[in-house]
Amino acid sequence: MTSDSRLEKILEEGHFAVTSECGPPRGVGPEVIQKKGEILKGVVDSVNVTDNQTSVVRMSSWSAGVLLKQMGINPVYQMVTRDRNRIAIQSDILGAASLGINTILCLSGDHQKFGDHEAAANVYDLDSIHLIQTVKLMRDDKKFLGGDELKGEPRMFIGAAANPFADPFEFRVVRLAKKINAGAQFIQTQCIFNIERFKKWMEMVRDRGLHEKAHILGGVTPLKSIGMAKYIKNMVPGMDVPDELIERIKGVEKEKRAEEGIKICIETIQQVREIEGVHGVHIMAIEWEEMVPRIADEAGLLPRPAAQ
């Protein structure tokens, strides 16, 4: 074990892992995050805490992670390289580790153009692959990027994201390989709506033997409505929502569409689970956390194993 991460234990013990995520509040209230934590506790193995997602300012991801930790939940500390340079990054990693955070997801982050501070400078001193290397260097070599030794290494289980639906398609697996070579131990993918494309991607992953070098968790998102499906399809870069899926939701009565979205999500989980090399699912129920217990239950993912 490289860390005390519950997620690492679950995966290393060979269980099919289940993670979810929650976005911190746009204010100081801890109860927002605690409420989401209550819903997810015991239903998933770890909860990702997003880092100012879509570049909208929110409570810092490590502090919301600590709030979850206090409730007995294993937080996955999401860190983007958009807002901090290597000095702040390494400092935050040390701080988070000292507060008991042991799982990190390394991201470059959405451009600030998407958020509420379009006039902000972006940092991008490092990219996501450099961030993975940095955490690994600190953990395994007990060194800072600058070369100095650190005292007391951050024992982090290192994760990264992969988007099988971005372009150029043939390069997505190469980039995944780079992330794994850099030190990523688990991978959470972008939301899978196009299962055929995901299968093709996984085939390329297996061809390179990458599924044996890192644990791949397929990302799923329940669609609440036609509006949401269309928004994701047309407005969120790097997302692939096939027309058939939209047609399927359109095919049911308006009041039953959310229900259909849940059904599709559960089916996707079951299909993803069948694919060789997929070791878990990451359920991203965007501002719909209350649906996660039901999805996990009906997808046959409960009860969660008690990894120790």
Partner: protein, 222 residues
């Protein structure tokens, strides 16, 4: 070359609102080529200022001049004989030219009449685009001659990110994803293996992060 673009007339009018006698100074270098600060633009800006001030019943006297370059003291000298007769200069050279003029002539304010935007190329007539951020540490040999610092909105060294869609950048559907371009050219050249390697963490000390930069060539100094 350095690419610039005229500031809105209202902004320039606001800068000179207290002045009655000014110089509008152009430059025959880059800003002439990108049609932002050459002799022609000196004429256009001066006419516009004149007209606006006449309309306000507050005429302004303008001396029009276009220097060979504003980034060389030798050419900046050419205004010394008459600059003291004026209250301000609106320079429509790039930011370097404006500053160099301000360094040489400290008694009166030197105002910028254009915005300096980037180091770039003329893609087609009337269209200029950025190509270089002057990071001081050229990596173009790794990336198929396409600069990730300039052409990726996140200056990623190991892109493309998950937002790259059909060749376009996540930031703007009108902007080509720089990393898609890098991928395409390396693929064409049969050098995709280059992208298997991680381009290491950058040293930004040669960029603006290291403070104002200077090059001293002893062999050329007088």
């Amino acid at each position: 070359m350095v690419i610039g673009e005229g500031k809105p007339l209202q902004d320039v009018l606001a800068m000179v609102s207290q002045n009655k006698k000014i110089i509008v100074a152009g430059c025959r270098g880059c800003v002439t080529v990108c049609c932002a600060g050459g002799e022609k633009e000196v004429g256009v800006l001066s006419a516009a200022l004149n007209l606006a001030r006449q309309k306000d019943d507050n005429p302004i006297e303008i001396h029009e001049v276009t220097l060979e370059r504003q980034c060389d003291t030798e050419y900046l000298e050419q205004v010394r004989s008459f600059i003291d007769e004026y209250e301000a200069v609106v320079s429509i050279a790039c930011g370097a030219g404006v500053q160099f003029m301000a360094e040489m002539y400290r008694k009166i304010p030197i105002y910028p009449g254009i915005n300096t935007n980037f180091i770039g190329v003329t893609e087609q007539q009337g269209v200029w685009a950025e190509r270089c951020q002057a990071c001081g540490n050229c990596k173009l040999h790794f990336t198929g001659g396409i600069c990730p610092v300039t052409r990726c909105a996140k200056r990623l060294m190991n892109g493309p990110c998950g937002g790259s869609t059909q060749g376009k950048c996540e930031v703007d559907p009108e902007t080509t994803c720089g990393w898609q371009l890098i991928y395409d050219v390396l693929k064409e050249q049969g050098r995709l293996d280059k992208l298997e390697h991680i381009i290491p963490v950058s040293d930004w000390s040669t960029s603006r992060d290291g403070g104002p930069r200077r090059i001293v060539r002893e062999d050329l100094k007088l």
